[in-house]
């Protein structure tokens, strides 16, 4: 009796963990369904490589902020959460900045001030405020990974489409042949096209999500 009960609880725990990860990845995708962290998707997705770099940095920051918040900062009162967590994220970004300056100085210079601006990415703060404060360590780490990978694929989608249409390449490899590569759609390199593309993508994924709920 005891063993079956324990088995049942273990399976429930596993299902809960998997559901947390999957919900953060698809049903509550930070960009396409919750509309959090729009500015990196618009400003930093000229090429797929740039999008991948900034999205993975966001994933790293998200994981470490969720980790530290659920480990040490669960007792912070409700009114002071924003200030404390924002300060924590700023400390993390400063540490990352000086780590990169020490070991990869040319790579750090190519990122510019946008690395510092990632402090104001809404995804990180909202995940810590809504999830990591209330849940235990493993669940909040899984949630961070899910939301981070959701952010990565959302940002990579926009970056790939923009690079294919605007430059004819993907990760530097020519896709549509040399004719298109010589005369691409230059408007896709402007940030205006990113706004329009993001609007259509958000509309499309919201429609799919609503249809799933109805079924």
């Amino acid at each position: 009796m005891h063993t079956t009960r324990r088995l049942f609880q273990d399976t429930i725990k596993k299902i809960e963990r998997w559901e947390t990860f999957k919900t953060a990845l698809f049903k509550e995708n930070p960009i396409l369904l919750l509309l959090l962290g729009i500015w990196p998707v618009v400003a930093l997705t000229k090429t797929a490589k740039e999008a991948l770099i900034f999205a993975s940095i966001t994933l790293l920051l998200l994981f470490f902020s969720n980790f530290f918040v659920s480990l040490f900062f669960r007792g912070v009162p409700y009114q002071r959460r924003t200030c404390v967590f924002l300060f924590l994220i700023a400390v993390e970004v400063t540490l990352l900045d000086y780590f990169l300056r020490l070991h990869y100085p040319t790579f750090r210079e190519s990122l510019g001030i946008f690395l510092l601006l990632l402090v104001m990415n809404e995804v990180i703060l909202s995940r810590t405020q809504t999830f990591a404060v209330r849940n235990n360590l493993i669940l909040s780490c899984l949630d961070a990974l899910g939301a981070g990978f959701g952010y990565v694929w959302g940002m990579m989608l926009v970056g790939c489409i923009r690079e294919i249409l605007g430059n004819g390449t993907i990760f530097g490899q020519i896709v549509f042949g040399k004719e298109f590569h010589k005369s691409p759609m230059l408007a896709c390199n402007l940030s205006g096209f990113a706004f329009i593309l993001l609007g259509f993508l958000i509309g499309f994924f919201r429609m799919i999500n609503k249809r799933e709920k109805r079924v």
Partner: protein, 193 residues
């Protein structure tokens, strides 16, 4: 590189408009631009906040952090200044400027445009006067983008929109078309200068 004050102001206003050209769109912008009157007043709040953040960060950086060799604290100190201004400041001085709109200050806590202003000024190595002029340009650009989006959204409420795009998607598409217009204007001005 031209460094006269008019060019700095104009580059902040149109050529490098912080929302429409650089794409630094905070999520709270979508909520702010729902109604025209609220958008106008919140734009004025943003102008005051950006000026205060610029002046305080410039003074702190050049008089405290550089002299103590603590340049690595620039990000943390500017974030702390933003937190202090938006979360804890509702006093008499702010009341003179903003009136009842000071209760909307916490909306600006998580605003990437607000953090970008002092960092951009430090990146260009402006002195105090130049950075104030640059900030004025950027903040009037923010105000203009906010008011333009709000007026267009009021108009969109009356027009038929496809069901897939209702809500925020059509707002983002409107912003995109505005941004394309701004970039073509910027190209024309670059050809003139």
């Amino acid at each position: 590189m031209k460094t006269n004050l008019f060019f700095i102001f104009f580059s902040g206003l149109v050529l490098n408009n912080i929302i429409l050209m650089q794409g630094l769109l905070p999520t709270s912008f979508l909520g702010m631009s729902a109604k025209t009157k609220r958008a106008v007043n919140l734009g004025i709040v943003a102008i005051v906040l950006m000026l205060l953040v610029t002046i305080l960060t410039w003074l702190l950086y050049h008089f405290v952090l550089v002299s103590l060799h603590l340049e690595f604290l620039v990000l943390i100190s500017s974030v702390i200044i933003i937190i202090l201004l938006t979360q804890f400041l509702g006093g008499e001085i702010i009341k003179q400027f903003l009136g009842k709109w000071r209760s909307e200050l916490p909306l600006f806590t998580l605003n990437c445009a607000l953090l970008a202003v002092p960092l951009l000024n430090l990146q260009h190595q402006y002195n105090l006067g130049e950075s104030i002029v640059h900030t004025l340009g950027i903040s009037f650009g923010y105000w203009g983008a906010l008011v333009l989006t709000a007026t267009l959204r009021q108009r969109l409420n009356l027009s038929p929109v496809a069901k897939m795009l209702q809500g925020y998607p059509i707002v983002l598409i409107t912003l995109g078309i505005l941004s394309l217009v701004f970039s073509s204007i910027a190209q024309m001005l670059k050809m003139v200068w």
